[in-house]
Amino acid sequence: MGLGAYVAVSAALFALGLIAILARRNVIYILMGIEMILNAANLNFVAFNRFGSMQLDGQMFAIFTIILAAAEAAVALAIVLNVFYLFDSIKPSEADLLRE
């Protein structure tokens, strides 16, 4: 399979992540969408690494992306738990203390 097939899958996964973020009113869906988008970026890195003239740089980038995604998920879920304690809800539209 050529590079184009992988890039197409990556683009579709990115679009799905964007849809999950935009269409669902729930913080956890936003996190899932972010994970999908990061995975799409990783797939692009590895595909271009395979088909380009790089040595291993794309895979290294993907590894650092995975590391940062793990850190991001841990911190984001801690924040979600705190938001739930504070507002009794995990809808992003209800965390509006500054509006009042």
């Binding site: 992988y6 579709a12 996964l13 729930n26």
Partner: protein
């Protein structure tokens, strides 16, 4: 609820037909390798579509497991074996468990999904993606990017050994590696600190104001 069940049946029927069509196209275009690619691509995209579609968060999280596993399979097809294993360990084993943990701690909200909103977003985002994709396919120089460089030395241990050397060799990624370690430590300690409940939250409300005698 009858309408809901019918909707589910239509959705999964369409998804299955699409996946089978993808497998057939892959097999017809590139043989066994195309079949493997189509299988993993179908897992990836099907999981993503289910995640957007499903009403309950738990089902969405488990659909995301298919997505992550499919991505790991695509990594394997791209000869990134170390990354594939890391993907399964970290995403399927770690991040997904964290997501499910957060799901269990929050109440279900089954009325949150709006089909109209999903449809409108799909049309918008899908249209933008298709437009950009066609534009890129038209302008990119695929002759430079197209073929894998077969002259490159592939060592017999796969990519794991070269990645390990890249992490530790002084002229390559050792600074980024140490920085990543620091970032992970700080982020995880911060996560524990943020998520912990303050002691004052756990104690029952005590009336601290002394009643005048």
């Amino acid at each position: 609820m009858k309408k809901e069940a019918a909707l589910q049946r239509i959705f999964y029927g369409a998804l299955g037909v699409l996946a089978l069509a993808g497998l057939g196209v892959g097999l017809a275009v590139a043989g066994a390798q195309g079949l493997a690619f189509a299988l993993f691509a179908a897992m990836t995209l099907g999981g993503g579509v289910m995640c957007v579609w499903e009403r309950s968060i738990v089902r969405s999280a488990f659909a995301l497991m298919a997505t992550f596993t499919g991505i790991a399979g695509l990594f394997l097809l791209l000869e990134a074996d170390f990354l594939a294993m890391a993907q399964i360990l970290i995403y399927v084993g770690g991040i997904l468990a964290l997501l499910l943990f957060a799901v269990m701690l929050t109440p279900p909200d089954l009325g949150e999904r709006r089909l109209g909103r999903i449809l409108a977003t799909t049309v918008l985002v899908g249209g933008a993606t298709v437009f950009l994709g066609l534009e890129v396919a038209r302008t990119a120089n695929w002759f430079v990017l197209g073929a894998p460089l077969d002259g490159r030395a592939q060592d017999e241990f796969g990519s794991a050994e070269r990645i390990g050397v890249g992490f530790l060799a002084l002229d390559q990624y050792v600074v980024a590696f140490e920085l990543a370690a620091v970032v992970l430590t700080v982020a995880l300690v911060a996560a524990v600190y943020i998520a912990r409940r303050k002691k004052s939250d756990l104690e029952p409300e005590v009336d601290t104001q002394q009643e005048p005698a």
